[in-house]
């Protein structure tokens, strides 16, 4: 047996992949959607439609002048009924959003298809921006910006992230099994835009069918530059810096970007979205989202962006038992919601936790067991950072490299004393940032 590629530290939480074998199901067309104008990293969009306007699915309804942004498109056809502050999965304050009432016709607006062989990289990037594509693995960083490295930074390697290491989520897994050719085509567009010679698709070894289907798709469409790698199943394998280290054994220097070491990581779902935008002219208005955990019937849904969480949960038969938490994202990184919120581009999973499992464990004294140090994939000392941040000794936090923490939460997961270490760390970072 070949030794699987792996990395230092990491944890083995239960997989909870209830939906790994379930084909992607198209969710019912929602009666109304809420399109948030700020669902990506960067500048928020301003509306380009007015209340009362008729819009079609795929029509641009919000855009920004700043390059670091991504436009938002109507995900259904119908009437704009309200423009104003709406609840957001990511911030309790809410963000500007556009409500659209469906006319039930689902009329589409598509752009002209492009041929990536003849189109210039510049035009391809413009299309990716115009289609509103952002990183679909969760970070929602505008893809057009990521594919425009700063002057003088040559990218030789593109890594496609199919690790999907977080418990519960199977959206990327199903996409790789069901539409591998589209992912490969999207990846080739990325490689062309960046002029990269090497491509790797990293997939955790527990997704055998996905590895096989991606390999088959590559055989059909082979030019030998792209290869699929089976990675050890371990969290946080899918974190970009860890994935780069695992696959090409390069480390992003502390405080810089993977541009500096010639690598760019994209999610497999992002590659598929790029395929749709380039080959079919379709803007990013729907995505695969895994609805799982304590729901009657866990599913992988192809859902329109802007559909409310509760509508998607209803689609899966509703809650199983007494609902405790609803997470936007998986059980390691997901944001716990306190109200019904609309689906945004970056959310790959809706995870429901029962009330009895949602109980917070009692905090105890640190016994210096060293587990958090053993598993920290970044080589940090989380117990020290936690103690220092808790005591407001922020200068020392910096000495212990607090800003190198990527907040994967592994330390909090393993801690036998149930200390919320990653919470202390993010608190410390926030205080240091505010201090400037």
């Amino acid at each position: 047996m070949v030794k699987l590629k792996s990395f230092r530290g990491g944890i083995h939480p239960p997989g909870l992949k209830l939906t790994a074998g379930k084909a992607i199901e198209v969710a019912k067309l929602p009666a109304s959607v809420t399109m948030l104008l700020h669902q990506h990293i960067g500048a928020p969009c301003t509306p380009v439609v007015n209340e009362g306007d008729l819009v079609r699915a795929g029509q641009k309804i919000g855009d920004a002048d700043s390059f670091l942004s991504a436009p938002v498109h109507a995900s259904i056809s119908g009437t704009v009924t309200e423009i104003g502050v709406q609840p957001s999965p990511l911030t309790a304050a809410g963000v500007q959003g556009i409500k659209i009432e469906s006319d039930g016709k689902d009329e589409r607006e598509v752009m002209e298809a492009m041929d990536p062989d003849t189109a210039s990289p510049h035009d391809l990037i413009a299309r990716i921006r115009e289609a509103g594509i952002v990183g679909l693995g969760g970070a929602a960083f505008p893809t057009a910006v990521k594919l425009t490295p700063p002057e003088g930074k040559a990218i030789d390697t593109v890594i496609l992230n199919g690790a999907e290491c977080e418990p519960g989520i199977t959206a990327d897994h199903r996409l790789m099994v069901e539409q591998p050719e589209k992912i490969v085509k999207g990846m080739k567009v990325i490689m062309k835009v960046l002029g990269a010679e090497h491509g790797f698709i990293g997939i955790e070894a527990n997704k055998r069918d996905a590895i096989q289907r991606m390999r088959e798709a590559l055989e059909e469409d082979a030019d030998g530059r792209i290869s699929v790698l089976a990675l050890k199943t371990k969290y946080p394998q899918g974190e970009a810096g860890i994935l780069i280290k695992t696959i090409v054994n390069r480390e992003t220097p502390s405080g810089s970007h993977s541009y500096d070491i010639g690598v760019i990581v994209q999610n497999v779902a992002t590659a598929k979205a790029i395929h749709d935008a380039v080959f079919e002219g379709v803007a990013l208005i729907e995505r695969v989202v895994t609805v799982t955990g304590d729901v009657q019937e866990p599913k992988n849904l192809l859902a329109r962006v802007g559909t409310s969480f509760y509508e998607l949960l209803d689609h899966c038969g509703g809650f199983k038992g007494d609902v405790g938490k609803i997470l936007a994202g998986g059980s390691m990184l997901g944001v716990a919601e306190y109200q019904n919120v609309p689906l945004i581009k970056g959310v790959n999973c809706i995870f429901v936790v029962n009330r009895e499992h949602a109980r917070l464990p009692e905090e105890r004294a640190c016994i210096r067991c060293g587990s958090c140090i053993e598993i920290c994939p970044m080589g940090l000392i989380p117990m020290m950072l936690g103690q220092l941040a808790r005591k407001h000794r922020f200068n020392e936090c910096e000495e212990y490299h607090i800003f190198d923490c990527m907040e994967c939460g592994s330390c909090t997961y393993v801690c036998p004393s149930k200390l919320p270490l990653v919470q202390f760390i993010s608190y410390g970072k926030e205080r240091l940032k505010r201090r400037g």
Binding site: F351, I373, D404, S417
Partner: protein, 314 residues
């Protein structure tokens, strides 16, 4: 709409708790404890019970005095049990009880309780007894004889009369010594179980025992004898692995083991005592904060910088 619970991620926690670790350690000590009672008779059982009882009671009252809530997390049981295992089988019960009281009250609670103490509580208790009642603490009885006729420990015989106890006796424990230190096999079963369960770091016992073995071999002594005789195995697997008092990083724990190993060799070969395990661990406990300050893992994306070790800290 239901009321939802919000909390920061991660929303999954492992099922390992302090209690689970502590009670697993207690389970791992069962072979050694049973062996000690079998070899040295019912008085050994009384010593063990006295120490555990005294340790738990002391912790209860000490925490009450400190205005803190007592939690039966198993750590006081371990301290009492470990102390008993490194006491002579015929030690008067009141002395054993005072040792357990000292271990918990002075070596643990006075520092702030679980997780705060610098020195291993059981060994601190033992050190206190060695100084206070040196005769009682060095009166050894014969194994399987269940009488009060005294004998010498293998290390004592080696130091005073240059006699080497056979390996088989050292492995099975049919020699004079502390209740829990004589049977190498029983200790290895328990220690191996903890390593397999990943509750203790293999690096400390391996570097500790390895250092003693290698140094003894280099200095022309009998390597295997020095590994099996005395309290090295008990100390290496159950005391030099006490999370609270050893370094937090793997590299630091290796340093700890090497340092403790050197001290054992120095005491056994040059010092006045035949045995040096207790002092070696306590002395290295004192170095733990220093090791933790300087030995850190390499951070991702940051090259190793050894010059940090030489710079004066602010």
């Amino acid at each position: 709409m239901p009321t939802l619970i919000v909390s920061p991620p991660p929303h999954l926690r492992s099922d390992v708790t302090i209690e689970k670790i502590m009670y697993t350690v207690i389970i791992a000590l069962i072979p050694t404890t049973a062996c000690g009672i079998y070899l040295f008779g019912v008085h050994a059982l009384y010593v063990i019970s006295t120490c555990i009882l005294a340790a738990v009671c002391t912790e209860y009252f000490a925490l009450r005095l400190m205005g803190r809530q007592f939690v039966m997390d198993g750590s006081a049981i371990i301290t009492g049990l470990l102390l008993a295992l490194c006491l002579p089988p015929r030690i008067p019960l009141w002395i054993a009880g005072i040792g357990a009281f000292f271990a918990i009250a002075f070596a643990k609670c006075a520092f702030g309780g679980l997780g705060q103490n610098i020195f291993n509580p059981a060994l601190s208790g033992r050190a206190f007894l060695v100084i206070s009642w040196p005769v009682a603490m060095t009166t050894w009885t014969r194994p399987l004889a269940y009488d009060a006729i005294t004998t010498a420990t293998p290390l004592g015989l080696w130091k005073m009369e240059q006699l080497h106890t056979p390996y088989l006796n050292l492995a099975l424990g049919t020699v004079g010594g502390c209740i829990g230190e004589t049977s190498a096999v029983a200790i290895l079963i328990g220690g191996g179980y903890l390593i397999a369960k990943r509750y203790i770091d293999w690096r400390t016992p391996v570097s500790y025992i390895g250092t003693v073995g290698i140094l003894m071999a280099i200095l022309g002594e009998d390597m295997l004898f020095h590994i099996l005789a005395g309290g090295l195995l008990l100390g290496a697997f159950f005391m030099a692995t006490d999370y609270v008092t050893i370094p937090i990083t793997g590299e630091g724990r290796v340093l700890f083991g090497i340092g403790a190993g050197i001290i054992v060799v120095v005491i056994r070969l040059i010092g006045g005592y035949p045995e040096g395990v207790m002092f070696s661990i306590l002395l290295m406990n004192a170095f733990t904060p220093l090791i933790d300050r300087h030995v850190r893992p390499r951070v991702y994306g940051v090259p190793r910088d050894f010059s940090r070790l030489l710079r004066r800290e602010r």
